[in-house]
């Protein structure tokens, strides 16, 4: 985890100020070795014709947008083991992704929400969306990930 593990909990105003914050953006090429290992981790056979395993839409958009899981933890104010939960993903595939293609990657934080349980426990919904386009400018994929940050 980041240094934020010792920091104070994020205020609700600070949380809402995150909406609209854009990631730096950049490009990302998926190499064969990376796709091979990723596919192997899933227990599936290697894919033909340089096709990228669909699950690459978790880390490739994050890294290609110029951020990281660690930085997202820091931005969202996650504090230590057990503080981050995955609520869900919404991933759209417009054309197949392939190894060796340089994708343009852009995205931002799109939504936050502070939730307080009946027992007073606080958790924040943290949502970001990232687009990947191919070298011809064609939208290849769009992801929206929903995280839950327990305070």
């Amino acid at each position: 985890m980041s240094d934020s593990s010792t920091g104070a909990a994020m205020t609700e105003d600070e949380l809402h100020a995150l909406v609209g914050q854009r990631f730096p953006g950049g490009t990302r090429t998926i190499e064969h070795w990376e796709n091979w290992l990723l596919t192997d981790c899933t227990g599936f056979e290697q894919l033909p014709d340089g096709l990228v395993h669909p699950i690459a839409l978790f880390h490739v958009p994050i890294q290609g947008a110029g951020t990281s899981i660690a930085e997202l933890f820091e931005i969202s104010g996650a504090q230590g083991a057990g503080s981050v939960g995955l609520d869900g993903y919404d991933w759209e595939y417009f054309t197949p992704m392939r190894e060796g293609v340089e994708y343009r990657v852009e995205g931002s934080i799109t939504e936050v929400e502070r939730m307080v349980s009946d027992s007073g426990a606080i958790a924040d919904r943290f949502v970001y969306s990232i687009d990947l386009t191919d070298p011809d400018g064609v939208l290849t994929a769009r992801i929206t990930n929903h995280w839950r940050i327990r305070r």
Binding site: M1, C41, I55, D87
Partner: protein, 147 residues
């Protein structure tokens, strides 16, 4: 890839991950550059009341994508929308399942809308660890001209 007819109510052939391997979680953490120690450090997970490390969400989703790719081909997936309901731990036995709920046509191609889920257990006592929906191009992505 399955050549069977696809219609509303069609059950997608299940896909099984018989043993969630913590070594794969370590490789996955390196690929993702994921610093969250609950995926690879047993010392970090014990204070949370667990004695087994927690599988990454993308890996849980991958078992459902593997089911869909085995069914309609490796470039058939058009959309995945899932929600995680329970953590998955090392050693768990998982089965991805799905059912066709609707069929539509876009640009002359048929697509299956499916309910998908990931079950943990041995088929007798199971709990659902992920639920969601998927859109799959029937017969694979024959529009793909990007090669």
């Amino acid at each position: 890839m399955s050549q069977a007819a696809v219609e509303i109510g069609t059950e997608i052939p299940p896909w099984t991950m018989a043993f969630v391997d913590p070594q794969r979680m370590k490789t996955m953490a390196a690929i993702l550059r994921d610093p969250y120690e609950v995926h690879w450090d047993h010392e970090a997970i014990r204070p949370l009341g667990f004695d087994r490390v927690i599988n990454q969400g993308p890996l849980n989703l991958s078992y459902a994508t593997n089911m869909l790719m085995a069914w309609q081909g490796p470039s058939s997936i058009r959309r995945l929308n899932v929600r995680f309901t329970q953590p998955v731990f090392e050693g768990d036995h998982l089965v991805a399942r799905g059912t066709v709920t609707a069929i539509d046509e876009v640009d002359g191609r048929q697509r299956a809308h499916c309910d998908i889920r990931l079950d943990r257990g041995d088929g007798v006592a199971e709990d659902v660890v992920m639920v969601g929906t998927a859109v799959v191009a029937i017969g694979g992505d024959i529009d793909d001209t990007s090669q």
